[in-house]
């Protein structure tokens, strides 16, 4: 199978948790639904038009945290809207806590995620190839951003990997560089002598697919395990992973798999 990878970098990021109401909490990594939105924007698709084409059945997506990331809260002064007359500000304002993701230092660092894309086996779509063509030949349409339209981002480090090895393991310890599917992991290991003994590990349920009804109705979720530092996760894994080999580095990655369809 062929895999396309690229880095998406910016100063600030915010991936809104859809279940949080007044407090705008952010996921630490972009959910699959956010990533397909970024890809659709680069490819010049219109809003809400690509849910089926880029769904988990057609496109496999993996994600890796490349920079150390940090979250902090700031308060935004939103209008308090309870009825349509409140846009004038006459009902006052409401202070909404808003969580942003930055690098360790805003001034010197940045937020970097690496996205891996591959066409699902048996899928007729050629998304990986089309996207590669656009990225390599500088033909992007809408500008990429990290969650909010104004959190501008740039795409760097585009690579195409041909004939990627897929490895099947049955409960063995491996170092995985991307976010892993929780369902495949039975144990985490922190090695005293390893450089990454100070790892920060999070588990999260992330939106994966929308129904193709233009309404952003959630169809499926991913349950994932990842680290917020640029270290691999040492996990006891049952399932498959993929090896992206370069001269000085081997990246072992997993694509996000659905944990079951929510609604039909």
């Amino acid at each position: 199978m062929d895999v396309l990878s690229f880095d998406i970098c910016g100063k600030f990021a915010h991936f809104r948790k859809f279940h949080a109401n007044n407090t705008a909490l952010s996921y630490s990594i972009p959910p699959r639904t956010t990533i397909i939105g970024i890809i659709a924007g680069i490819m010049g698709r219109e809003k809400n038009s690509y849910y089926e084409e880029f769904s988990s059945e057609n496109m496999r997506i993996g994600i890796r945290v490349v920079s150390d990331i940090r979250k902090s809260f700031h308060r935004l002064n939103y209008l308090m809207i309870k009825s349509k007359d409140d846009f004038t500000g006459k009902n006052g304002r409401v202070q909404t806590p808003f969580e942003v993701i930055t690098g360790n230092s805003i001034r010197e660092g940045k937020v970097v995620y690496r996205v891996f894309i591959s066409d699902q086996e048996g899928s007729k779509s050629k998304n990986t190839e089309n996207l590669q063509e656009i990225l390599i030949n500088q033909k992007s349409s809408y500008n990429a951003s990290l969650g909010l339209a104004n959190f501008n981002a740039s795409i760097e480090n585009v690579k195409f990997w041909q004939k990627v090895n897929t490895i099947q393991v049955n409960n063995e310890f491996v170092n995985i560089h991307s976010a892993c599917n929780s369902a495949d992991v039975s144990e985490l290991e922190f090695l005293e002598e390893a450089a990454f003994k100070f790892n920060f590990v999070e588990e999260e349920l992330l939106p994966a697919d929308f129904k193709a009804n233009n309404d952003r109705e959630l169809k499926a979720m991913n349950r994932v395990l990842y680290t917020t530092r640029n270290f691999p996760l040492r996990v006891k894994l049952k399932g498959t992973y993929h090896e992206l080999k370069e001269e000085n580095e081997i990246q072992r990655i997993q694509f996000l798999e659905n944990v079951g369809i929510l609604t039909q």
Binding site: F12, S72, K84, R107
Partner: protein
């Protein structure tokens, strides 16, 4: 006028001296800070408000504003605009010029509408979707400069549409470490027997940098023209010092640098332009804590200069540059 033809990225830097660039409403209105790195922050919405206010003072049509001196909501604003545009016969003529089909449906609605209600009411019927989209599109493209630049979401009965702004500005942050002024109590005297102590938080000196993009694809949706962009470039430079209030005094623009890309090059081609500037306190100033003015800082633009100079003609079509005293950029 047609929509802009090129993508561009811009860098905007302004300084804030002894003032509060952007208060955090939930932290006693202290300047927004990331305390872990002593970075002062300013949101994009603060900057856009300066620009909108400046446009309004210049007499331009701004959607997020007032009508007849009263604050109005989007429904009323739209109603006001539509009734104003579509009740005078000569205006209607030019409005639907070359769109006979739209003209026909509009005339029908005009005939059917009740004696006392305005055109707007009659239009709000669901079946007029296509006509309303056409009217809204025209209003945005011909009337409201701020929506052409920054976008807006319309959620008015019969008129729903979200416009993503072609101009997107990231949050700004200080290039230097920023420290707050210690003494911060003020007395307010209301009348003889009731005065209170208030708090007034300020920064000593903050050199704030913003990175923004202008995207030609989004521009087609809102109809952003080259002329609008000229207004924006002028507005961002003029707006901040022209609207001095007590907490916003002593803020001056320092640099506006816009890289206009040739065809086939996209926003973010050189990453965040702020990463190409290096700022540090001058040797004779004992660290960031002692920085009080622009001349206390050393700013190194060499990375930015060499990048621009080596890409001119190939990637870069044009560079638009405005600087104030004390900044030289050799491009």
């Amino acid at each position: 006028m047609s929509a802009i033809k090129n993508n561009s990225d811009f860098l905007f830097i302004y300084e804030a001296i002894n003032c509060n660039p952007n208060g955090d409403p939930d932290q006693e209105n202290k300047p927004r800070m990331d305390y872990e790195t002593q970075t002062n922050l300013v949101t994009d919405t603060r900057l856009k408000r300066y620009i909108r206010d400046y446009f309004m003072n210049e007499g331009k049509e701004v959607f997020v504003s007032m009508e007849d001196g009263k604050k109005v909501n989007p429904d009323q604003k739209l109603e006001f605009t539509i009734n104003r545009l579509l009740t005078e016969q000569d205006l209607v003529e030019s409005y639907f010029d070359g769109n006979d089909e739209m003209r026909k449906s509009f005339d029908e609605i005009n005939k059917e509408k009740k004696e006392k209600e305005g055109v707007f009411k009659a239009l709000q019927n669901k079946k007029n979707r296509a006509l309303n989209d056409f009217i809204l599109d025209k209003i945005v493209k011909e009337t409201f400069l701020d929506i052409r630049l920054f976008g807006s979401a319309f959620a008015v009965g019969g008129f729903t549409h979200a416009y993503t702004g072609p101009v997107q500005i990231n949050w700004g942050y200080s290039l230097n470490k920023v420290y707050q002024i210690d003494s911060d109590s003020i007395v307010t005297i209301m009348n003889d027997d009731s005065s209170t102590f208030g708090k007034d938080y300020r920064v000593h000196y903050s050199l704030l940098a913003f990175h923004g993009v202008v995207n030609k694809y989004s521009a087609q949706q809102t109809g952003l023209t080259e002329k609008d962009l000229e207004e924006f470039r002028n507005g961002i430079w003029q707006a901040i010092p022209s609207l001095p209030t007590r907490s916003k005094l002593n803020q001056y623009p320092k640099l506006y640098l816009e890289i206009v890309y040739n065809d086939g090059f996209n926003n973010g081609h050189f990453g965040d332009l702020r990463d190409l500037i290096h700022c540090s306190p001058k040797d004779e100033i004992a660290g960031y804590k002692k920085v009080r003015r622009f001349s206390d800082l050393k700013i190194d633009f060499s990375k930015l200069e060499s990048l621009i100079n080596s890409n001119k003609g190939k990637v870069i079509k044009d560079v638009i540059l405005k600087t104030s005293d004390g900044i030289t950029i050799n491009i």
